[in-house]
């Protein structure tokens, strides 16, 4: 009774959503999946704790859902795409979560992303054949 080791386990700062994670976070992801439907979103909003109970979302998972602690939800193994169904309508973007994971602001996170833009045209010209504006 052991979970397989994987050659992606040692990629720094990286958590791969695999069977082990999906198994542990099944109930919470199942609950988040229902947020595709407006009626379910309203039902959750009316009584988050009762809604968690309905799906067997317990312990740390339940606590962070009620506290809307999206970062902790991710750390506990929630799937990012399912988590987004709860976080984005509440004003927390996937970039906000990425920034928080690194302990920087979203503006700093976006500035780091924009660094990839520097010298891009020159790089593409060097490789050749790219549309370049």
């Amino acid at each position: 009774m052991v979970w397989n080791k994987h050659d992606y386990d040692d990629i720094p700062g990286t958590y791969v959503f695999d069977g082990e994670t999906a198994h542990a976070s099944y109930n919470i992801n199942k609950m988040l999946f229902t947020f595709n439907t407006e009626d379910c979103r309203d039902e959750f909003e009316a009584d988050p704790a009762a809604y968690c109970d309905e799906f067997g979302v317990e312990g740390d998972f339940k606590e962070c859902v009620i506290q809307k602690d999206f970062l902790r939800m991710l750390r506990l193994g929630c799937n990012i795409y399912f988590m987004a169904k709860m976080a984005i309508p509440r004003g927390t973007s996937v970039q906000d979560c990425g920034a928080a994971m690194q302990g920087i602001t979203t503006e700093e996170f976006q500035a780091k992303l924009l660094e990839n833009r520097v010298g891009l045209e020159e790089k593409l010209d060097k490789v050749g054949g790219y549309w370049n504006g």
Partner: protein
């Protein structure tokens, strides 16, 4: 007989749908990204397909984690888009072609690709945004569609090598359909990105460009990488690039490269448009 005219690659991220919805295409952040689609749109107009095969992944609209097919094929006459829970406005339904779909399913299974067949299939932003980026936002779509969904959300996900083989089988399946039909394949998603973990925000421009070059001319090159190696270089969500291999496998080995466009960052990703034409 059905004929594959060519294939293209495109990003499918939610932000693209939001940008189109809010008419931001000519804003400074988006301009270079969207302007680079213009030659692809012109080519597509000229190619005039009757059918587009869209290789994409579902992000928790149609498939939950209870049943996760590695490969799934739409087998319906209509595919609906729907509320994904975070604000993208559902788009007009997309016409399918059940007869064509079932032909493809039979052929794939004959070729030992035991694909999951779906007579109802909601299509999410992964399918919708590429079509909107290339055709605009329409109330009626001018082309029929075939969704091919690949699991890249819950590991184990298929290898790049397996996706290339699926593409080759898909190409045979399409081109053995007896009806005259012009087909274009979309490979969506990618390129490098990672949405979570302390390494979130990773973009690997050099690897992205190398992938574009090689996938166009020498797709076997990409099959040297394990999924762990792809994620190490291109981020956890960069694994989506395996879906490009399905498109590429469906084309001829030697293709004409019509258009190459790369932009980074767009949202959290490196974004690549390749237009490849069969000879």
């Amino acid at each position: 007989m059905a004929k594959i005219i060519g294939g293209l690659t495109t990003s499918h991220i939610p932000a693209v749908g939001n940008a189109i919805e809010n008419n931001l295409q000519q804003e400074p952040y988006w301009k270079r990204f969207f302007d680079g689609y213009e030659p692809a749109k012109e080519w597509l107009k000229e190619a005039n397909p009757d059918m587009i095969v869209v290789v994409y992944n579902d992000h928790g609209l149609n498939f939950f984690l209870d049943k996760m097919p590695t490969f799934a094929l739409g087998c319906a006459d209509i595919y609906h888009n729907a509320d994904e829970g975070w604000g993208l406005k559902p788009q007009a339904p997309f016409p399918g072609d059940a007869q064509f779909s079932w032909h493809v399913a039979e052929s794939l299974i004959d070729q030992e690709f035991d694909i999951c067949t779906c007579q109802e299939m909601l299509v999410d932003h992964g399918f919708v945004n590429p079509i909107r980026a290339l055709y605009g936002t329409l109330k009626e779509w001018p082309v029929k569609t075939l969704p091919v969904a690949v699991n890249v959300v819950q590991h184990p996900v298929p290898t790049a090598a397996r996706c290339l083989k699926l593409g080759r089988a898909l190409g045979k399946a399409i081109e053995s359909y007896p009806e005259d039909m012009r087909v274009v394949i979309f490979g969506t998603g990618g390129l490098s990105h990672q949405l979570q973990g302390e390494r979130a925000g990773l973009i690997n421009v050099d690897f992205d460009i190398e992938c574009m070059e090689k996938i166009a001319t020498e797709p076997e090159w990409f099959t040297q990488f394990s999924n762990a190696e792809i994620m190490r270089k291109a981020g956890t969500e960069g694994i989506e690039t395996i879906m490009w291999m399905v498109m590429r496998g469906a084309l001829q080995d030697e293709v004409k490269v019509i258009h190459k466009h790369y932009h980074a960052p767009i949202s959290n990703t490196g974004a690549g448009v390749l237009v490849l034409e069969n000879q």
